[in-house]
């Protein structure tokens, strides 16, 4: 914090802007106070030869070479020249874009699950738009590494769903780091986490004796928050346009909601029931923002056309159900039906998400179940299409499809080499590259160290246990 310009930006800017030589041109009260410090390490070029390539854009390229260079996908084709690059023979193996999970609580509900690290819900008020989930992320969560072993290269970490408006979510690269800023996906917008249904009314109405206690209380809560935000935004926009006079008072919660209204923050809504999703779409229309995706959405199949028509993605589980009443109507074909909606226009946007540190390790298997269920219901779903549920579609919902999510020349080299079809339960991510840097190699498990938390946990176990003796047996 020695450079003066940086200090100006970091010091709550509203009072100091004038003293720092002029107003930030962006119509927000402050520039990003928590910028990404992620820098991919330099990596030598790699030629992956002869793989079955699922591009993420509905195409399957058999026996195809992919060249990774300078952190990007440099070439895709047959019999590419190796030049000076390292060659990996991948015949019989599958190459896909890195998996993107749009719904994770890694780092904020980490392992181990104890009070000290339970940082996902600021459940002290029903709207907490002022909190940023990134300030809860513990980068040493061992779950980041196991997710990487499942091929996950990018994830969105979200606040929990206790609140109507839970705060800002964030998109991160799944790389080992000491600080979360070292994981922040450069150029990705932040998100707003909202929640429908049972959770907010249970946490506040049933357990807290305050509003919201009902579905109608939930909706009143969203509308009240955005009504205030619209007024706040108008004041700030007028101030920014005028270029003079005293700045309006700063409100961190309204900063976030105003930026939602400006389209600078993407809205991610936890919502199970069809009727509640339709209501949320109307609320969004009333205040002029878009909902990027409904998360969990077990009843999305009931309104698949509405979701397609409004360009709203469904971020879904393959088969979770029944843990609460709003999850009672789940069907195994949900993902496939959302995907198939308005298929003549290619509009259905289905995403397989995890919301779970175990599920994130096998999103490929969850997609396999959803694909198989859809096929049995008579839908045509080739592997090269279903892979998009894990790659291109989540990238679209996070606004980063121009950077990652598909295997196309020029995109980030976020790539997974699978031991076989990723739609097999027996398949493993053999190697995982993030921005062209090898971040996981099954043949070299020590390529990346365990999280600091796991280091030394088994110092004695390794020398005294049956495991050690049994492991030594022929």
């Amino acid at each position: 914090m020695t450079r003066p310009a940086r200090t100006c930006l970091a010091a709550l800017a509203t009072v100091l802007l004038a003293a720092c030589g002029g107003r930030d041109p962006a119509p927000t009260p402050a520039a990003d106070p928590f910028p990404s410090t992620y820098r991919p390490p330099a990596a030598s070029a790699v030629l992956i030869r002869g793989a079955t390539v699922l591009t993420g854009i509905d195409t399957r390229l058999d026996d195809t070479d992919v060249l990774l260079a300078d952190g990007r996908i440099a070439a895709i084709g047959k019999e590419l020249a190796a030049g000076g690059s390292r060659v990996i023979e991948a015949r019989g193996r599958y190459l896909t874009p890195g998996i993107i999970d749009v719904h994770s609580h890694l780092g904020v509900y980490p392992a181990p699950d104890v009070w000290a690290t339970s940082d996902g819900n600021e459940a002290t008020a029903p709207t907490t738009a002022e909190v940023w989930v990134e300030h809860s992320i513990w980068p040493q969560d061992p779950g980041f590494q196991t997710a990487r072993a499942g091929g996950v290269t990018t994830l969105q970490v979200l606040p929990g769903s206790a609140n109507l408006i839970g705060g800002r979510g964030v998109v991160i690269k799944n790389v080992p780091a000491a600080t979360y800023q070292q994981m922040l996906f450069p150029g990705a917008k932040r998100s707003l986490k909202m929640a429908c249904g049972e959770n907010p009314k249970r946490v506040y109405g049933k357990n807290g004796g305050r509003s919201p206690a009902t579905g109608m209380g939930n909706v009143a809560g969203y509308r009240a928050a955005f009504a205030k935000a619209a007024s706040y935004r108008a004041k700030w926009d007028a101030y920014n346009k005028a270029g003079e006079g005293p700045p309006p008072d700063r409100d961190l919660a309204l900063d976030t909601l105003a930026d939602v209204l400006r389209g600078n923050i993407l809205v991610q809504v936890h919502c199970y029931r069809a009727d509640q999703m339709a209501t949320m779409l109307d609320v969004a229309k009333e205040f002029g923002f878009r909902i990027s995706a409904f998360h969990h959405a077990v009843e999305a199949y009931k309104i698949a056309d509405l979701l397609a028509d409004t360009q709203t993605c469904g971020a879904l589980w393959a088969d979770w159900w029944g843990f609460k009443l709003e999850a009672w109507d789940a069907i195994n074909e949900n993902i496939a039906i959302v995907d198939a909606a308005r298929s003549d226009k290619g509009a259905g946007c289905a995403i397989v998400h995890s919301d779970d540190p175990d599920g994130i390790q096998r999103l490929n298997q969850e997609a396999a179940k959803a694909m198989a269920a859809g096929r049995r219901a008579g839908l045509t779903i080739p592997e090269e299409h279903a892979i998009g549920w894990l790659t291109a579609n989540p990238a679209k919902a996070l606004g980063i499809l121009d950077k990652t999510g598909t295997l196309e020349v020029g995109k980030a080299a976020d790539v997974v080499l699978w031991s076989g079809s990723p739609f097999s339960v027996y398949a493993h991510a053999d190697q995982v590259w993030i921005d062209g840097a090898l971040r996981l190699d099954r043949d070299h498990p020590n390529l990346q160290p365990d999280s600091d938390f796991m280091l030394g946990a088994d110092v004695d176990a390794a020398t005294t246990s049956d495991e050690a003796t049994a492991g030594a047996a022929p």
């Binding site: 181990p112 196991t146 509405l306 179940k369 694909m371 049956d466 495991e467």
Partner: protein, 424 residues
């Protein structure tokens, strides 16, 4: 299917009566995964008479009058046997009125018997049954403020209300369930307090009526029914299933079992591989989730996907359970967990055994269930692909030789929205 007489005549008075409906059918041209000495038989026939397997093999003569089902070479396995669930005991976790898993707010609920309250019309049964689950252990458990000894679990048939003679609870009082480790600590105050409380209960039960009601009082009071139930555990008429994850907690459980001569089953067992030889020496089996690899709790710090291999080498018997909160609604995904274990190097037949034969052995039902062998009950599942693959599904399911309709509330919802689209 030919309609059969509705009148049912029981052929045996045994609890596991099997299906007494007179029917003879043959599933032929199947890849039969016997989960028995015969291994996997290609192009084989399984002959079923009156709910039991009468013949298995490539050269089975199909009697006149036997209905024939052509499996077209597809895999046929024993029904999946879920070693731990709350099937029939809870419907919706978040709807308290439907959830009877957790026991009362007293220290000991040994008298609690889930078979008093199980619901054979649970929506969860068809959802899992059409995915190949045919039997399940259904167990009480404890939440904060509940009982250290949660009560007695039962073994059910997923046929539920369809079971012949209504006999879907195939083994009531199948095991006593109790907690050690972090759960026991939370219930009793500390780990040693949980151990002491279990010892007090067994001491009280051992001394029987002489001291009945005199030794313990208040929330720790044991009722005569509690004592009677614990005496059955002391007499090894019922195994004790103890939740224990950390190696030291498992060792404490072994010591308790030694001291009171209990038949012990470890549930959880995240660190069982660290005490594998001690488990093997006492023939104590383990119910564990093979997919776990994160230290979700401090007591599971050493959880390891290689544990299954270590336990196998040591000769410990184990069955797979789903340790997440989805072990009931998605008991059907036990198959996926077995597939994950196979993907990590476990023999595929052994992985299948861990969700079929092993649970039957651990809960004392392997003479009747768990494998495709002559004389056993015909719990059979025909699959459209590799039974451990996530993309495979059951295409036909028999329980006690009775063909199950491949319908659940979920398939009905699917059909309503797929085949008769409403305005959306």
């Amino acid at each position: 299917m030919i309609p059969r007489p509705i009148q049912i005549v029981a052929l045996t008075t045994a609890l596991l009566a099997g299906n007494a409906r007179a029917e003879l059918f043959a599933i032929r041209n199947a890849e039969v995964h016997t989960v028995a000495g015969a291994g996997t038989l290609k192009a084989a026939t399984v002959l079923v008479r009156d709910g039991r397997i009468e013949a298995v093999g490539a050269e089975v003569a199909i009697p006149d009058g036997a209905r024939q089902i052509d499996a077209a070479g597809r895999p046929l396995t024993p029904g999946i046997f879920v070693a731990r669930s709350a099937l029939g005991l809870k419907e919706i976790d978040g709807v308290e009125e439907t959830n009877d898993v957790a026991s009362a707010q007293k220290r000991y609920s040994a008298a609690l018997d889930v078979s008093d309250a199980l619901n054979p019309r649970s929506v969860l049964l068809p959802v899992n049954r059409i995915a190949g689950v045919t039997r399940a252990v259904t167990a009480p458990d404890s939440t904060k403020g509940g009982s250290l000894i949660a009560g007695q679990g039962a073994i059910i048939s997923l046929a539920g209300a369809r079971a012949a003679d209504g006999r879907w609870i195939v083994k009531p009082q199948a095991a006593m369930f109790a907690a050690l480790g972090e759960q026991g600590r939370e219930l009793a105050g500390s780990r040693p307090a949980a151990l002491a409380a279990l010892r007090e209960a067994f001491e009280e039960a051992r001394s029987g009526g002489a001291r009945m009601g005199s030794g313990l009082s208040g929330e720790a009071q044991l009722s005569p029914l509690d004592i009677a139930a614990l005496q059955r555990v002391l007499k090894r008429e019922m195994p004790l299933v103890l939740n224990a994850e950390r190696a030291s907690d498992i060792k404490a459980a072994l010591k308790l079992a030694d001291d009171y001569g209990l038949q012990l089953i470890i549930s959880g067992g995240a660190e069982a591989h660290l005490v594998a030889s001690e488990l093997a020496r006492r023939s104590v089996p383990v119910l564990l989730d093979p997919s776990r690899n994160l230290p979700a709790h401090f007591e599971t710090l050493h959880v390891d996907r290689d544990a299954v291999a270590v336990l196998s080498r040591a000769g410990v018997r184990f069955a797979f359970i789903d340790a997440s909160e989805f072990g009931s609604h998605n008991a059907r995904n036990l198959r996926q967990l077995a597939g994950i274990a196979a993907g990590h190097g476990m023999d595929r037949d052994a992985a299948l055994a861990a969700i079929t034969l092993s649970p039957a052995q651990i809960f004392g039902l392997s003479s009747e269930l768990g494998s495709i062998e002559v004389g056993k009950l015909a719990d059979l599942v025909l699959w459209d692909g590799d039974p451990l693959e996530a993309t495979s599904a059951a295409t036909a399911v028999w329980i006690d030789g009775e063909s199950m309709p491949m319908v659940s509330r979920q398939t009905l919802l699917r059909d309503r929205y797929l085949k008769r689209p409403l305005p959306r």
